[in-house]
Amino acid sequence: MEGYAYTIWIILLPFLVFLVTGVLSLRIRPQLAGWIGTAGILVTLVLSLLTAWNYFSAALPADGGWPTVIPVNYTWLRFSDTLVVHMGVLLDPISIMMLLVVSIVSSMVHIYSLGYMKDEPGFARYFAFLSLFSFSMYGLVLATNLFQIYFFWELVGVSSYLLIGFYYDRPSAVAAAKKAFIVTRFADFGFLVGILLLSWYSGTFDFLALNNPDGAAIAGAASATFMGASVLTWALVLIFMGGAGKSAMFPLHIWLPDAMEGPTPVSALIHAATMVVAGVYLVARLFPVYHMSGGAALEVVAWTGAITALFAALIAITQEDIKRVLAYSTMSQIGYMMLSLGVSGYGGEEGLGYTASMFHLFTHAMFKALLFLGAGAVIHAVHSNVMGDMGGLRKYLPITHAAFLVACLAIAGIPPLSGFFSKDEILAAALHHNPAIYGIALLVAGLTALYMFRLYFRVFWGEEKAYAHKPHEAPLVMWGPLMVLAALSVVGGFIPFGHYVSSDRQVMAMHPEMSIAVTASVVSIAGILLAMWLYRRPSALPAQIAGSLGSLYQSAKNKFYIDEIYMGVTKKILFAGIATPVAWFDRHIVDGTMNAIANLTARISSVIKGLQSGHVQQYAVGFVVGVLGLVVIFIYWLKF
């Protein structure tokens, strides 16, 4: 398979744009920086579409599986003759799908930001960071090996840190950026250990070798055991820990809601469609390895996903900040994708979960980006994040309203919008694997409809608030992207996904199961109706229900006190239990030693001051002593 060499430019171009806009950010007009950035990302969008077209329109090879193409592979580091780190581009169905997701959402966000960030100081800086992020994300999805993915993984972390902390004069934004950075860094530590374990036993970093279905590379790791599980399982669980950190899986999710302090388009890009699904992508990328390791690691993935999906959906119902609702919703949906991967088998119909997960990743990226950008338009109009300040906006923001409604219907899983198809596949996969998880998933589907329409009705319907100035529709650069994403959210479900993406690369036909489709739709519609009954018109009902639920509602509203638990744990255990002794050690032992060394040095230097006194005769003495010393030590003493 030749002719994909240009794909390297998909990675390099945003980096060049970053360099140009970053270096010149103070020299050129901010608007120009914005246009350069947008033009750059649009070129990568075109290249990505071209790649997808070339790849999927080509004839399938004889064995019927989609091929893996590595058009570029550059040797970067050489640990030993066998363990070599490459930097390159790997094309296969899921990397191309991610390529499309990243390029489409990133392009829309770039265009949208031209309007949304228009009068911000640091406009050029913002676009430079966006380009840096896009560069890192492209590098991540196209990675050919674990080390490259880790490298870009960290780079994604850094650039999202920069973007979340964009309003660096706002203390809460800085704190949120720091929190995101630290939590994900903690998770990445597990990731790194996992990578090292896996590569140590398999002798390779390359996905191609690791994912080899006959399992030659990972045989060693599968046979070695540690604490009752194979080393391979441990390595995969640790790698999943990295993925869980980035994808905000329970209990490493605490950074995501706070990260909403960043500019809204950034949330759409990073926290809806691209960075947060990196964890899912990572598991999918290594899926054959996960599968070959036996069920334990996938079981962890499935349950983590299910718990997160339920847990986040419950919290989402109670939140007042529009962006936080969306953040928890994102968590919940990513939990969905994870559980789907966790319940998947390998090959044929067994691999339905895998396909469904990727499908949902794709559709979710479109409608969640749409939701965030729509929320951005609302925030732009009313200058507030809190739902209490909104209401009746459908008259003022007709376009946004329409787009938002499409997105809400899509995420709730109403046919024939895209979310219906992907969610349906996930439920089908869960049902065949594990009825308990299926139950949770079904419940979450209903909750999703409930909290999304709660949001929708409270913002666009309900009581009209006294606005300081009349809300107005966003400009074309902002609603244009909304329309594009809305269109994709509508038609996305009709893509025959199983034809392109499946666990064993074979073409797989997907059969919607009527019973599940009907059940799921009924549950969703019930959720919507409930939301309509509660929130369509202002009433005291929601407050009464909240009151009757009492502590459950309170704990959900307070995010189940996870943050407090973390604070308690870190304060009590880390600070009291570990930090205090460390501080004592630092003060008494380390400082003491340093002081002792300093005193000693001072004393010695006063003694040997002659040695560094500037007297050249004494330097000569030092020289001769050195020579004689070597002779004494090595010839007389050690007898060489």
């Binding site: 040797t75 230097s605 004494q618 020289f623």
Partner: protein, 474 residues
């Protein structure tokens, strides 16, 4: 002598041609035009450097007294790059201070003669040539150290350098004669065959080694380093810390790894001990320095200790890690010296305290310094990280875990004093920071090359692979 033979000695002949042209220019240019020698010299040397990289050839001349191969060719080319940056950075200083005194061309001539000595040294086929090369590379530098004649410190630096260098040469010569006495030959290729591994040879080796260690400034042969760096003009200090040291490391590598098979046990252990001493003492003294030139001097001592780590393995990886580290160190250290030189030339300040708040007034210089210091400290993804990484890998693969631990601890210590400078520049506020300094175009070009090197070497692994491949045959 035919055309091919000339090609073998290309580096030397080219440089001689450059020296002759500049000498003629010095003679024929009238007094006022003398400052034109600076661009002329830079251009000529630039051409020489560029041409030097081409066509590596392998062969011997003068009955084996002169030999060259791909690796030696690479060493010379690396030294060329270093010298080019040094003289580029010295351009503005030469124009400002040397031109009025009519001492421009001599500066270049002396540096080049010294470089020529290094060429002959690394290409030497016998100990006589090694010694002559060593002398030719050392003596002109003594004159350079004393170049600012009217500065007391500079003259003092020159005297100190030439006296200690004289002692070192004498000891080296004694070592060579002991080796000759024991083996009856000067020729390197025969030396290894004739050795019997007796204590006389060991003694000869230690004596010889002391002289080279003096140039690398390994502890305890390092005492001259801080005084001379502080007193000498900054360009000369930079030259000493990078080029002189580099050439000495190269010759040590060629001799030890190539021609002293029987002494391997001895020298590995000697270097093991000295690496620990050098890293630790260099770092501990550097912690206490306030003067940047002295600090960089001790840092250069400590870095020399790190270089010795690469000698722990005579395999391909050891050689490659040394050469790669030298290349990285060259860019990093020259960048740091370049910034110090710029600041010193325009304001006369060279203490850490004077650098407080530098970022506010001179952001670009501060950033260059930041990159250079981070690279010296070995922070990823800058080149310095990979330099140290490969050295550590060499030590680890040779199985010296104690040494590795000490080296890592020393890396952390060194981080401390590099960060002291960074803190002064970026975090400290000063009531009267240094004014904005506009460096001249040559200096700027030099710094840009350094920064490009620091960044690019961290990314382009092809460089290491190429060096690794060349190291297959020494």
């Amino acid at each position: 002598m035919n055309w091919d033979d000339l090609l073998l000695m290309r580096h030397e002949l080219q440089l001689l041609a450059v020296i002759l042209i500049v000498t003629c220019a010095e003679i024929y240019l009238s007094g006022r035009d003398k400052s034109r020698i600076i661009p002329l010299s830079l251009a000529l040397f630039g051409i020489h450097m560029a041409a030097g990289w081409l066509w590596p050839v392998e062969g011997e001349l003068f009955g084996g007294m002169y030999r060259t191969n791909g690796l030696i060719h690479l060493m010379k080319s690396i030294l060329d790059v270093g010298v080019f940056i040094v003289i580029l950075q010295a351009g503005g200083w030469a124009r400002k201070q040397l031109a009025p005194e009519n001492r421009v061309s001599e500066f270049f001539l002396l540096i080049w003669s010294s470089l020529l000595g290094m060429y002959y040294m690394v290409s030497a086929g016998d100990l006589l040539m090694v010694f002559l090369g060593l002398e030719l590379s050392t003596l002109p530098v003594a004159a350079l150290a004393a170049y600012e004649v009217l500065k007391m410190r500079s003259a003092e630096a020159g005297i100190k350098f030439i006296l200690t260098a004289g002692l070192a040469s004498a000891v080296t010569l004694m070592g060579i004669s002991l080796l000759y006495g024991s083996t009856g030959t000067f020729v390197l290729a025969d030396l290894g065959k004739q050795m019997q591994g007796n204590s006389l040879e060991a003694l000869g080796f230690i004596f010889f080694f002391a002289g080279v260690a003096f140039k690398i400034s390994l502890v305890p042969f390092h005492f001259w380093t801080p005084d001379v760096y502080e007193g000498a003009p900054v360009s000369v200090a930079a030259y000493l810390s990078v080029i002189s040291k580099g050439a000495a490391v190269f010759i040590l590598m060629i001799l030890l790894m190539g021609f002293a098979p029987l002494l391997t046990d001895l020298w590995v252990n000697v270097l093991y001990l000295l690496a620990i001493l050098t890293m630790t003492i260099g770092n501990l003294f550097a912690l206490r320095q306030r003067n940047l030139k002295r600090l960089l001097a001790y840092s250069a001592v400590a870095q020399a200790g790190f270089i010795m780590l690469g000698f722990m393995s005579s395999q391909q990886d050891g050689k490659a890690s040394i050469i790669y580290f030298m290349l990285v160190y060259l860019f990093s250290n020259l960048a740091a010296f370049g910034v110090v030189q710029t600041i010193e030339m325009h304001t006369g300040k060279e203490d850490i305290g004077d650098y407080e708040g530098l970022y506010r007034t001179n952001p670009r210089l501060s950033l260059v310094m930041l990159l250079a210091l981070f690279s010296l400290a070995g922070i990823p993804p800058l080149a310095g990280f990979f330099g140290k990484f490969f050295l550590f890998m060499t030590v680890a693969s040779a199985g010296y875990y104690l040494l590795l631990t000490i080296a890592v601890i020393n890396t952390v210590i060194s981080l401390y004093y590099y960060l002291l400078i960074v803190r002064a520049m970026f975090l400290r506020k000063s009531d009267n920071p240094l004014p904005l300094v506009t460096s001249d175009g040559w200096m700027r070009a030099g710094l840009v090359i350094c920064v490009a090197g620091i960044v690019a070497l961290g990314v382009a692994s092809g460089v290491y692979d190429a060096i690794y491949a060349l190291c297959a045959h020494l």
